[in-house]
Amino acid sequence: MDYEVVIGLEIHSELKTKSKIFCGCKNEFGGEPNTKCCPICLGMPGVLPKLNKKALEYAIKAGIAMNCKISRFSKMDRKNFFYPDMPKAYQISQYDLPICYDGYVDIEVNGEKKRIGIERIHLEEDAGKLMHDPFGQGSLIDHNRCGVPLIEIVTCPDVRSAEEARILFETIKTILEYTEVSDCQMQEGSLRADVNLSVRPRGQKEFGVRTEMKNLNSLRAVQRAAEAEAKRQIAVIEKGGQVIQETRRWDDNKGESFSMRGKEEAMDYRYFPEPDLVPIVVDDAWLNEIKASIPELPLSRKERYVNELGIPPYDAGLITMNKKLADIFEEAYKVCGNPKLASNWIMTDILRRINEQGDSVLDSLNGAKFGQILLFLEKGEITQASAKQALDTFLETGEEPESIINRLGLKVQRDENLVLAAVKDVIEKNPQAIADFKAGKTKAFGFLMGQTMAALKGKGDPAQVKKILEEQLNAAINE
């Protein structure tokens, strides 16, 4: 039978505020256990929370970027459950009035645009971290992450394949990076996704029984987990069995998921309004202020690059997936005046550098300086090879491009006498190549061209070298 996969994501993203959501403790990954804590985030007796305004604004910003409606009246609620790294035994979250609701994001699957609904985005606090004690019998608790502001993004079950799930996750990640509300460091757990998945015979209207896989922390894991879970569910049904509604844990090393037993009873979270925090009212002025702080988002940028700058869709998509890269592109093309030149360089040279050295390369790559190097190239004042060399030096030293080019003498050599002398020298030293050329082997021309350029230490203007070489070769043939 043919099955359809139905997927919805729940994405938790930590917000990159300076301080935690309800206290002044530092919001920063890592550090010695329990050193970024105070009586408030430890939930000690008698203390009270106070809502971080920036955290709320970041949630609203993410919501606007995902085309959500923003609740003009909202509140915080208590979600009750016991867990050792949750000190109050309730999480301050949002229940029936999430700050953002009814939105969507557009994703691109195989060149086609697809719209995925965003059911809600709500604001809540993160929990701490449990660690196994290598020496003792117990587990150790580190509360440094307790009270870090989080948004939970709940998508509609509009996703129809594991690949779409990965693309959706990546698209949302990109939006969060563009709006600068989260640093999306998945290896640090600041962005993680739960995959809710069910299957149904194609054509059936009702959803099948769904399972939930928690805390997937890479794009690859989302896709693989979804693929494996769809396969598993189909196999269960094919064997005449029934899928059980449950939470499963994905083991990315084994490539399998496991049922999380021990939750025999459904959780009863006993939500109720947080009495220690007052209602949140968002007026037009505030909303507009937040709206104005949102930059152009990836999809719109991509469309602009394709339609206005003539960049191929594939290249534009790749560049805009990474905000830093897209920002570098924007600056570089504005300085050098040639968007295609800039995008070609990014697609080849810069992507190669990222592959070799990782994303950190982008931190030392200033878009405007990069553009200056490209401008020298564009004006024919340096060669392609010199441009690469200048970029290498720039990334190493941060020196001004003009000073690099002068210091290394990278400017193109145009002195006709010097070029002529080099050409003549090459012709004299390579009688075999001349013979080959005479015999009609065009390959020989390329060889002679290379030899001449090398003699000019790479600084010759290829067009000029070619012209003079041709003239001299013709003269030689006619001799």
Binding site: M44, P45, G46, F82, P87, K88, A89, S139, R270, P275
Partner: protein, 485 residues
């Protein structure tokens, strides 16, 4: 007359006139506590050393002439209000050894004024109860009759003032916990408007109802203390940012033309004759001074007890969930896994009444009962709030009993939780509506036990309440145990 009998105002004058030093005064109080606490049991912890250090500092301030009215005044703090470095037990095994590394905002404020904290006062465990019998440190005894309760949950706070074991005290009031013991012990007690006094550092029972307030020997003292503790606190989102008021001003303005509302529902069945007579007599005294009494209606007030118990217990079930034996407090030594750590630490660390309330709240919030109980209670809360608003269209203050009877015998009601709950009928509605309530002694019952009248005001009308209370106090006098009044 002993120095210990004096009010804040009188004591402060003696301190400034150098008739007594702060250290000497503090020693007098500590001596008194050493002598009588065994009997009254109002102190859980006495911090002699800290008190004497504070006394020396206060004396310096007085010598420098910079003294506030509370400077050098010995005070007691209810043991659910956090005091840095001094254990704060909530009268519970759960927090028996808890020494907070921070102080409540009110404590900071008192210390900032130079007050001398003598110690921490006994109470019902986690402020849950109306008799101060639910304490692992044993019941508080009423200074007027040691076989009777001091009321609760701020029983220690009321008894300490009444027995001259502190010049004034702080209590907390969630459903009557300042007003009822004030009435039982014959002292003045004020539950301020919700939001007037910071809750930061008050161990939460029911966050939307809790409020810290003063217990004192007279109305003037109450006003002096309120001046010190009221006001916006950036640490408490529910504390109100409003202009400073001097509550001691206008006390003597009298009650000419003041409209006094008498809710007919409050003088119906279930009210002890002596209490009814004492309260109505007090109203007549106010009328004699120029006040005008009117009957008003609070039609929904009869539902205040169930609404109060559902809301307060629901909030408590969450507020007390943090006591899990991990970060602070009691931890069972028998636990073999995490689930047992929770269940045994909480099962062994909480007393019976606390467990009952947690279960009640858990039940009221659980799926299936959430709408029928919790949400319904919130609706009833609004009805009661509206009732008071309507009543205040026809009056300036409401006069009411504080409790259906004067103090009862220790052990008399403790086996009947529902009966205890029903006693909150005159006080709990005031918390549900967030209003201020002032209790002023106004008479005694046939057993000689004091009775206090409760004056209820509009939100933030403390000034008027204190003024009416002051007029009444001048008319009926103050009440001290062992003095034949």
């Amino acid at each position: 007359m002993s120095i210990l009998n004096k009010t804040i105002k009188e004591t402060s004058e003696l301190l400034r006139a150098r008739k007594i030093g702060v250290v000497e005064l503090t020693r007098e109080y500590i001596k008194k506590i050493e002598k009588d606490n065994e009997n009254i049991n109002c102190y859980i912890t006495v911090c002699e050393k800290e008190a004497l250090d504070a006394a020396e500092k206060a004396q310096k301030l007085i010598d420098e002439g910079e003294a506030s009215p509370l400077c050098g005044i010995p005070a007691g703090i209810k043991d659910n209000i956090c005091t840095e470095g001094i254990r704060t037990t909530c009268a519970s095994k759960m927090l028996e050894n808890f020494i907070p590394p921070y102080s409540a905002t009110v404590v900071e404020k008192l210390l900032g004024q130079g007050a001398v904290v003598l110690g921490k006062l006994n109470m019902d465990e986690f402020a849950m109860g109306g008799s101060s019998e639910n304490s692992i440190f044993g019941p508080v005894r009423n200074p007027w009759d040691n076989t009777r309760v001091a009321g609760g949950s701020s029983g220690g706070s009321a008894a300490a003032v009444s027995a001259n074991m502190a010049c004034f005290t702080l209590g907390s009031d969630t459903g009557g916990s300042i007003r009822q013991p004030a009435s039982f012990c014959g002292v003045v007690g004020l539950k301020p408007t919700y939001g007037l006094v910071s809750r930061y550092g008050l161990v939460a029972f029911a966050s939307s109802l809790d409020q810290i307030g003063p217990l004192a020997k007279d109305v003037t003292d109450c006003a002096i203390i309120l001046n010190a503790i009221a006001g916006f606190d950036p640490m408490d989102s529910t504390s109100v940012n409003k202009e400073y008021e001097d509550y001691t001003q206008d006390l003597e303005k009298g009650v000419q033309g003041i409209r006094i509302g008498l809710p007919k529902e409050f003088f119906d069945i279930g009210l002890d004759d002596d209490v009814k007579e004492a309260v109505l007599n007090a109203v007549r005294q106010l009328e004699a001074l120029g006040g005008k009494a009117y009957e008003v209606g609070l039609p929904s007030i009869k539902h205040s007890v169930p609404a109060y118990y559902i809301i307060s217990s629901s909030e408590a079930s969450a507020n007390l969930a943090r006591y899990d034996g991990i970060r602070y407090g009691y931890r069972s030594s028998k636990a073999r896994d995490i689930s047992e750590l929770y269940r045994l630490s909480r099962g062994e660390g909480f007393g019976r009444e606390v467990k009952r309330r947690i279960l009640l709240g858990t039940y009221a919030l659980s799926s299936g009962y959430h709408d029928e109980l919790y949400k319904k209670a919130l609706k009833v809360r609004r009805m009661i709030f509206n009732d008071f608003n309507n009543a205040f269209e026809n009056c300036d203050v409401i006069a009411a009993p504080s409790y259906p009877v004067a103090s009862f015998k220790i052990g008399e009601n403790i086996q009947e939780p529902l009966k205890m709950y029903l006693g909150d009928i005159y006080t709990a509605g005031v918390n549900l509506a967030g209003l201020p309530g002032l209790v002023v002694p106004c008479g005694r019952d046939k057993n000689g036990m004091p009775i206090g009248i409760q004056l209820i005001g509009k939100a933030f009308s403390e000034k008027l309440l204190l003024r009416v209370g002051y007029a009444l106090e001048k008319a009926v006098g103050t009440f001290r145990p062992g003095e034949g009044n």
